[in-house]
């Protein structure tokens, strides 16, 4: 509603201006300053995509730069970039996840960005959260600039938690402090087709991002620190795998491997849910009575999985300065308007400036997300990260459903990852 009113007002203001200046004036200006049109690909296919549309419209109104946006599901977007960029058919600007940077950089899909260009365009490291700023660098070269930080958070269904008597002294839902406590609480909630705990949006059985979160909490990781071989058969990783299998196959507190945890949570059939921050605006739209808390410490460290979105320039066949400038102008504009993006799309910005915006600090969910910043961790910078993740998906699912014992499955997975071709 608000947007419509603004548009109408702006339209009337524009019409008045045209009337005052006269049409020839407008035409002359349009000829004098032809503005670029750039292509921009991203994977914002959810509610966030609609917000991006609106912001892009506003950007075009203010700058005259037109953006042809293509929103493609992330996995397809990456395949499309890999195919079209070498053919010279890539977009002028692309938004990708940090972990995609190494393999795209390695394959020459992305163009390196000079630090002098970055500072020349007014982007400074101290304006950004360090982990997001560093995420744009691969093997000493910068390939991307961070926009925001999708991350995990704990959602709790207030009604279910209250019904199970899991409330703190102030009446808010109780937050588990360890994995034993989590299991006890989850068992109190679980009943029939109602589940106590889940990690993952859809298909929790193969939710690698949740599995990574647990690995990192236990000090484990997909690769050894030198990135030479897989560390998934090490005891700390196996311990995580055992827990991952226990929640569904053994204790039956987590939903089936292919359930939609989001639908279950909205339907009031899931009590505690570790999932992406991108879900919370949808939960509000669905009028679910929920509370949030930082991702609980289930292993050794309270690490929170995070995966910044990064702006990148896919390598063009021949660089057109006007288009590159227009792309920079958009990144600049979005960085300056990132508070709007945070408020409406629910993604915490990588840039610090927006964090003190009173509208953001007043929002309990955004405040919780921001408070998690010291515990953020992301994937390892290797071109083989994504391939390893693809191999991980079916293997953790066999553990989740109890088809394979954790240790044997993880040893097999480590073998598969080590056999990945160079």
């Amino acid at each position: 509603m608000n947007g419509t009113r603004v548009t109408r007002r702006r339209f009337l203001a524009g019409a008045a201006a045209v009337g005052a200046v006269g049409l020839p004036g407008v035409a002359r200006r349009a000829v004098a300053q032809p503005k670029a049109t750039i292509s921009y690909w991203n994977g914002l296919t959810g509610a966030d995509g609609k917000v991006m549309d609106e912001l892009i419209e506003q950007f075009t109104r203010e700058t005259g730069i037109r953006i042809e946006q293509q929103r493609i599901p992330w996995a397809d977007l990456y395949a499309k970039l890999q195919v079209s960029v070498p053919a010279g058919e890539g977009p002028d600007l692309a938004l990708i996840h940090t972990i995609e940077v190494p393999h795209f950089a390695n394959d020459g899909v992305l163009e390196p960005i000079d630090e002098s260009t970055v500072s020349g365009k007014g982007f400074r490291a101290d304006e950004y959260l360090p982990s997001t700023w560093q995420g744009g660098i691969y093997q000493g070269k910068r390939y991307s600039l961070p926009l925001d930080v999708p991350q995990h958070i704990l959602y709790m269904n207030v009604k279910l938690m209250r019904a199970a008597g899991l409330v703190a002294a102030d009446g808010s839902p109780k937050v588990p402090a360890s994995r034993d406590e989590l299991l006890v609480m989850a068992k109190q909630i679980a009943k029939g087709d109602t589940y106590g705990f889940a990690i993952g949006t859809v298909n929790p059985g193969k939710y690698t991002w949740g599995f990574q979160n647990l690995l990192w909490q236990n000090g484990a990781n997909v690769y050894t620190p030198d990135l030479k071989r897989s560390a998934l058969a090490e005891p700390a990783a196996v311990e995580v795998a055992e827990f991952f299998g226990a929640i569904h196959a053994q204790h039956k507190v987590a939903p089936p491997a292919n359930a939609s945890c989001r639908d279950a949570f909205i339907a009031g059939k899931l009590g505690m849910w570790i999932a992406g921050s991108w879900n919370f605006t949808g939960l509000r739209d669905a009028k679910v009575d929920f509370a949030v808390a930082p991702v609980p410490r289930l292993f050794k460290q309270p690490v929170v999985w995070s995966m910044p979105h990064q702006y990148t320039f896919p390598k063009p066949k021949a660089l057109e300065a006007a288009k590159r400038d227009a792309a920079w102008a958009h990144i600049r504009w979005m960085s300056d308007h990132v508070a709007e993006w945070t408020l409406r799309a629910g993604q915490v910005s990588a840039r610090r400036k927006a964090h003190s915006d009173p509208r953001i600090t007043a929002d309990p969910v955004l405040k919780t997300l921001l408070a998690q910043a010291p515990n953020w961790q992301g994937g390892q910078p290797t071109p083989k990260w994504v391939a390893a993740e693809n191999l991980t998906r079916p293997v953790i699912e066999t553990i989740y459903i109890g088809q394979k014992p954790a240790r044997a499955a993880m040893e097999d997975l480590a073998r598969q990852i080590n056999a990945l071709p160079e």
Binding site: A79, V83, P86, D107, G108, A257, A267, P394, I401, P421
Partner: protein
């Protein structure tokens, strides 16, 4: 005379040759398209299968049979071959029989025949993604209606698509629901080609309904059955869409099929076109062998 004879002799074959070329000229546009979009990719795929080509990398090298050799050790490829074979065998009987039963019933002239024919055909007009998403929701373990009604009736529920023992059957069920209408229409056309006198004569000789089905309907439907059988087998070996939408090959690798494995190798895991092309050619070989076997088995008895 001799000269004239020779002239005639010379002219006749030339005219013949010119006439013989005409059909090919008409075929040229189609053949060119076939060559550009079918033959060339096919053969280029064969070439790629002997290289270490990767999408996005301009240089690649000839690696001989290495990609094929790797397939011998690739346990996930073996699993996907086995799953594809299982799907093909397990889905054949329902896909041959259910549309046949429905077609025979509809051919007898039941009430609402036209409506029912359209109703059965309707699912086939949907894309595989629509069908997959519909069934994904129907079979959802928590909020899906399938389990809801089972629960209401006091029957045990399952997460059909997340259980290695039921996932492939759920895919078969989805496929049967989707393609029944298509085969039904083909069977109906075949049934309408069978002369009514044969049934009349059989009835006069005192043949029962079953007897005329076994002795008239089935034998005379043989060409149609062969068509359905062969196209179904070829299609089954290439199953991808339903699996991709419903299970992504899961749980674990329980429903991973060859084409899915190939797709992931080519477009998700490192864009290994060489390796994926080798898989495609192995699958091609399997399909050719099966198709030849089917034709050999059924050829002698079929009148076209």
């Amino acid at each position: 005379m001799a000269a004239a004879d020779r002239g005639v002799k010379h002219r006749a074959p030339r005219r013949l040759r010119r006439g013989a070329l005409t059909p090919y000229l008409f075929l040229v546009p189609g053949l060119l398209l076939f060559a550009a979009f079918r033959l060339y990719p096919l053969l280029d795929g064969l070439r790629l299968s002997f290289t270490n080509a990767r999408l996005g990398r301009p240089q690649y090298a000839w690696v001989g049979l290495a990609n094929y050799q790797r397939l011998l050790d690739d346990t996930r490829f073996h699993a996907s071959l086995w799953n594809t074979a299982f799907y093909t065998v397990a889905s054949t009987l329902p896909i041959l029989a259910i549309p046949l039963v429905l077609a025979v019933a509809l051919n007898r002239g039941v009430a609402l025949k036209t409506f029912l024919r359209s109703a059965f055909f309707f699912p086939f007009t949907l894309s595989v993604v629509t069908v997959g998403l519909t069934w994904l929701w129907l079979l959802d373990p928590v909020v899906g209606p399938f389990n809801y009604y089972l629960r209401t009736l006091g029957l045990p529920t399952r997460s059909w698509l997340a259980d290695p023992y039921t996932a492939m059957w759920a895919i078969i069920l989805t496929t049967v629901w989707w393609v029944t209408g298509y085969y039904l229409v083909i069977y109906l056309a075949g049934l309408q080609d069978i002369p009514g006198e044969l049934y009349e004569a059989a009835a006069l000789d005192g043949a029962s309904g079953w007897r005329s089905f076994w002795s008239i309907t089935l034998p005379l439907l043989r060409p149609v059955l062969l068509f359905v059988f062969v196209t179904h087998i070829i299609g089954s070996f290439q199953i991808f869409g339903q699996v991709f939408v419903l299970t992504q090959g899961g749980p674990g690798d329980a429903t991973r099929t060859v084409v899915q494995h190939l797709y992931e190798t080519a477009f998700q895991n490192f864009f290994h076109f060489g390796s994926a092309s080798a898989m495609a050619w192995v699958l091609f070989g399997v399909i050719v062998v099966f198709s030849l076997l089917q034709f050999r088995l059924l050829r002698g008895h079929t009148e076209y």
